[in-house]
Assembly symmetry: C2
Homo-oligomer: 308 residues x 2
């Protein structure tokens, strides 16, 4: 057994991501001790039952006191408040990190409340499921995935190295980029996909000509996959859109422009242009499968699979 990376890790927020970090840290022996805290009394009680923390603290201050690394895993809009709550209880040299889907705005907010004796390493594991809460987490969530770190003026080299080691320990590859670049990359790979999934599910439920029961019955034609994405945690996603406004609106503008062009191709029967686009999009799919970020198994056929 190698030496644990940390003496004590505190995880603030025990939802899907926080509880997965806690489970992964315990199962891989990355810390001697792991203390958890969640703002919801119900989540704290359930986390104690599930037993993935050495201790579930009653207050954020109690969780953070004595921790070498504090992982804040709450919706983006609550991150700075969570850091503020523990600020005066952080030990000398403590490292604060977080896992939010937005970086530039969160960094601004956190730096305003971070005490001088702590360092801060913003991070974002690109992993998740559409489920939420402490029951949804699992130790292997980050295995084979990417984690992006976006160091800021309060990230010491040592702190970045230690947070990098944590994510590698959880099975992820680590990539470093600027907060601004992160925010535009995630706008296209995650935020806009979620936005249009939420939007089409909304459009479907408002159509007068088609009943909800028909939408549900015949959802296997493609719609179903959007409802999966559109069932992700609403508070988390509200905060993402409010905090990554600029990049989201920029990429959304491009999406809308492209959609208008596509609409025009359909209106004017431009089969050639449609075929060109529909063929081109297959290449990215191949890249994703080759990079191990998805499996080639047929998916629309579920839940039956296609074992013959």
């Amino acid at each position: 057994m190698t030496e644990p990376l940390f003496d004590t890790i505190a995880v603030i927020g025990l939802g899907l991501i926080g509880s997965s970090v806690a489970r992964g840290v315990k199962s891989r022996g990355l810390a001697r001790r792991l203390v958890g805290y969640d703002v919801s009394e119900e989540v704290r009680a359930r986390s104690s039952e599930l037993g993935f923390c050495d201790d579930v603290a009653a207050t954020p201050e109690a969780a953070a006191a004595g921790a070498d690394l504090i992982v804040v895993a709450v919706p983006v809009g609550a991150t700075a408040k969570a850091v503020e709550a523990i600020a005066t209880h952080l030990k000398e040299g403590a490292i604060v990190t977080e896992v939010g889907s937005v970086k530039a705005a969160v960094i601004r907010q956190v730096l305003a409340v971070l005490p001088a004796h702590a360092s801060f390493v913003p991070g974002h594991p690109i992993a998740g499921t559409e489920h939420s809460g402490p029951d949804a987490g699992f130790a292997e969530l980050f295995d084979g995935r990417w984690c992006i770190l976006t160091p800021c003026e309060r990230s010491t080299d040592e702190a970045v190295a230690k947070v990098t080691a944590l994510w590698r320990g959880l099975g992820s590859a680590v990539e470093i980029m600027t907060p601004e670049h992160h925010d535009i990359v995630l706008a296209i790979t995650s935020h806009i996909p979620h936005l249009i999934a939420y939007n089409i599910v909304g459009t479907a439920s408002d159509l007068e000509q088609v009943t909800s029961s028909e939408v549900i019955k015949f959802s296997a034609g493609g719609f179903r996959d959007f409802t999966r994405i559109a069932s992700s945690d609403p508070v988390m996603w509200r905060d993402v859109f409010l905090n990554n406004k600029q990049a989201v609106l920029e990429v959304l503008g491009r999406f809308t422009e492209d959609l208008a062009a596509l609409q025009r191709m359909i209106r004017w029967d431009d089969g050639e242009a449609l075929l060109e686009l529909f063929t081109r999009t297959r290449a990215i799919r191949r890249g994703i499968i080759e990079a191990g970020q998805d499996t080639p198994e047929a998916d629309f056929g579920r839940p039956h699979g296609h074992e013959e």
Copy 2:
């Protein structure tokens, strides 16, 4: 063993759907004899190798001659041509059916070439995967799914009953509706989801600020699921959009209008409205799971699953 429903079934087009029909008919004993044909010599050769037909004919005429039921399973834009090719070879009382994703336009085109001694039952199994070709098919594809039939002036009651029995035999539930209603239901549950999936993958590959390699690496945040849908057969989908133009443009108009409202909520920090929409969309997801049209298992975490 009960009596087979049909003496001879011919399947024209041996891609994902056609080869799945053939496999299902054989494995469930729905016909005494099943003859296949595909316009591609390569697909014919591969289908012979795979052995899911009793015979792979060299011409559509040879496949259709003597068949009681002819299942045309080709892209929507090629359906009428396929029917025209076999028209003079159809036996007295033969039933022609097809499986296309668009109904009103296809019916118009087929009725113009259908001989007087045959009947025609337009159908659409709501099942599929993102893969294409004879290797992609499997006998259970239609099991637990819906098949929509849209009878027209050339659908006799007897023919509708026999095609209904075929789909029930393949494991599907059958729903009857008008061609026009089918086309609007499918526009929202299938065509627009595919259109916006193709569109966002196109937008992503054209963004200057984000490289393709970054899109691929960080696709696990949601984008990945769109690329799966956007890797469906390009010719099939070009034909769908060109032949269901009116319903697609109508629903696309609604989608765009709703997206503009969503964009406005983000621009003006209307967190309450965002939260309301993101919460509302969860209800449709629950309905789909309760109706057995998807499983509640977490999906973003693949390929690792979340077995603990």
